[in-house]
Amino acid sequence: MSDLNQNFFEKITYRDALRLAIHDAMIEDKKIIIIGVDVANYGGAYGATKDLLKIFGKERVIDAPISEPAIVGAAVGAAMTGLRPVAELMYVDFFGMSMDQIVNQLAKVRYMFGGQISAPLVLRTQGGTGRSAGAQHSQSLESWIMHTPGLFLSMPSKPNDAYHLLRHALRIDNPTIFIEHKLLYNSTGYLDKLDTNFSFGKANIIREGEDISIISYSRMINFAEKAAEILNQNNINSEIIDLRTLNPLDSKTIIKSVNKTKRALVLSESNYTSSVPSEITSIIFENCYRILKKPVIRYTAEDTPVPVAPNLEKNYIPTIEKIVEYSKKLCN
């Protein structure tokens, strides 16, 4: 993180964009602290808080015991009493033990207490497959959160979005669940800190096209982009919509796109059933069913736990080949 004062980066990793976002926010706002397992000395299991201990000291960058429920709970308490914590769960799978504090406390503090207070914190975590980390370390659990009123939910795919979404989350009064992807940390892209185009809650049209809308978020955007290139060679011009936030959800952009292309593929690494993809699929059908040329397709991970074996794990999630195949079928 040598270029702390630079505003534009042609190429920066997703990890460094996150680090910069936390860094810049912490410089601006002394109320921001970081708390989580191995966020300080270790710099975060995936390096997203590396060096921040050195810069901000151990009062603001706090290594916590492996007590996820209490980490989230303490972050809620700190947020209610004047601080602005960035709490980290090392794996999204640890939502499991933390859901009481996330859903029964964090999401409801403002409502239950009649608007007296809120808990403005950011809960960062990461999910997804790709490291043979197995059934308990590879899940995509955004559907639980999107189902919970009261929680903003960000899942950026690009460094620039990661930066701005995190900065935004650290400014607003609502709690944000911020889910990264373990295979995105090393991915790169530009970062424009002064980006005036960035607008919270707006989906990003990564690629414009007329033939089919591919609606996705997080790592699957990369898959969509690769598929789009191949599709292009096949004379199929796809439009890729990167949702960036799932709550708020930019249904307008989705609907507008599908009204144009009349075909939609919803792409996600989560499980299929009762999920974010089900929601998006419903919205598209509800709004566009009369004009759709083909049914909306939701292409997701298999409805099974995540296997460790690399050959199985690879086929457990969507593949670029199949995105191409289904898109072609949709455009037939």
Partner: protein
């Protein structure tokens, strides 16, 4: 009134709690309460009174589902409390939280909680804030003996101890978790030992002397202020059922009769008279004033208006955000497609 005693004040607090809870029961009988999940702290007043009084104005706290007494002891307004319990607009939380979620940020009430143990880590977070912000505040988590079996308590104790936070964990041990007697829930019954093993300073109160309990509690609170977190257990007895509908068929009448004799309010009253701190008339006067206060609170709560229906959508997100779109609006929009 002797000047070096707080017993009159402690008596008054306990009496106010008891009278308040009676009104909660009445509200229920009148069909004016929001639901039946009303957990009365009748008989348990010593804990709220001693710890509540030992806390300073700037201190904060969370409570469990049986938290009315604690909030009364911390200055909660019976009017707004009863209105909340009635689910009315003038309640502390606009009637949206009810008995189990009363809160008042102005008085440091960080919230009652319907999840056993749910509010415990909140005070750890408050402790982090106060220490970081260099505010001389202590945050106290109140909870029942049942919560001693919730793992998050031990995670929280360890954090408080590790980070030397201005935090106190206060267990109101009323011998029961719903229908389960403590012996059927706890393998080895020495809660102080548990807390000590996590590095907390401990205090175990097991008698009716509220002033003594207050003095000792104050030490724990003040030690916490100096970053030695603490644990207080106050043994007492839940005089009535778990919630307003429960007639406690799982425990015998004899036990109830015997245990109800251990009434901290009666005990304080006798002490007041015995030590010439207050005479009977003075006590009656106090009691009468309390009754009047509670009468007014009842009236206030019953007269308080209900919410506009739109209130459902308010407070989900911050004031700056648009309200969530109602299902009706969503459906009608879809139907119009």
């Amino acid at each position: 009134m002797m000047s070096n005693t707080l017993l009159p004040e402690l008596y008054t607090t306990m009496k106010r709690i008891r009278s308040f809870e009676e009104r909660v029961g009445e509200l229920f009988i009148k069909g004016e309460s929001a639901g039946t999940m009303l957990h009365l702290s009748t008989g348990e007043e010593i804990g709220p009174a001693c710890v509540g009084t030992a806390m300073k104005e700037q201190d904060t706290f969370t409570t469990h589902h049986r938290g009315h007494g604690i909030f009364i002891a911390r200055g909660g307004d019976p009017k707004k409390m009863l209105a909340e319990i009635a689910g009315k607009k003038d309640g502390y939380c606009k009637g949206k939280g009810g008995s189990m979620h009363i809160a008042d940020m102005k008085l440091g009430h960080l919230g009652a909680n319907a999840i056993v143990g749910g509010g415990i880590p909140t005070v750890v977070g408050a402790g982090i804030s106060y220490k970081y912000l260099k505010e001389e505040r202590v945050s106290v988590a109140f909870f029942g003996d049942g919560a001693m079996q919730q793992g998050i308590l031990y995670e929280s104790m360890n954090m408080a101890s590790l980070w030397k936070l201005p935090v106190v964990f206060c267990c109101i041990n009323n011998q029961y978790g719903m229908g389960t007697k403590i012996d059927n829930a706890v393998g080895y019954k020495d809660f102080s030992k548990r807390a000590e093993s996590f590095g907390l300073k401990t205090l175990h109160i097991n008698d009716l002397d509220v002033e003594n309990a207050y003095n000792k509690s104050r030490e724990i609170i003040e030690d916490a202020r100096k970053f030695q977190p603490g644990f207080i257990e106050i043994e007492c007895y839940r005089f009535y059922g778990h919630a307003r509908m429960d007639k406690s068929p799982y425990r015998n009448d004899l036990e109830e009769t015997e245990m109800r004799k251990l009434d901290p309010i009666d005990y304080a009253k006798k002490e007041l008279i015995k030590n010439n701190m207050l005479n009977k008339e003075e006590i009656s006067e106090i009691d009468k004033n309390i009754l009047n206060e509670m009468d007014e609170a009842m009236e206030f709560a019953i007269k308080s208006p209900v919410n506009d229906e739109n209130e459902i959508f308010i407070d989900v997100y911050s004031e700056k955000d648009p309200l969530p779109i109602s299902i009706d609006e969503k459906i009608n929009k879809i139907l119009s497609n």
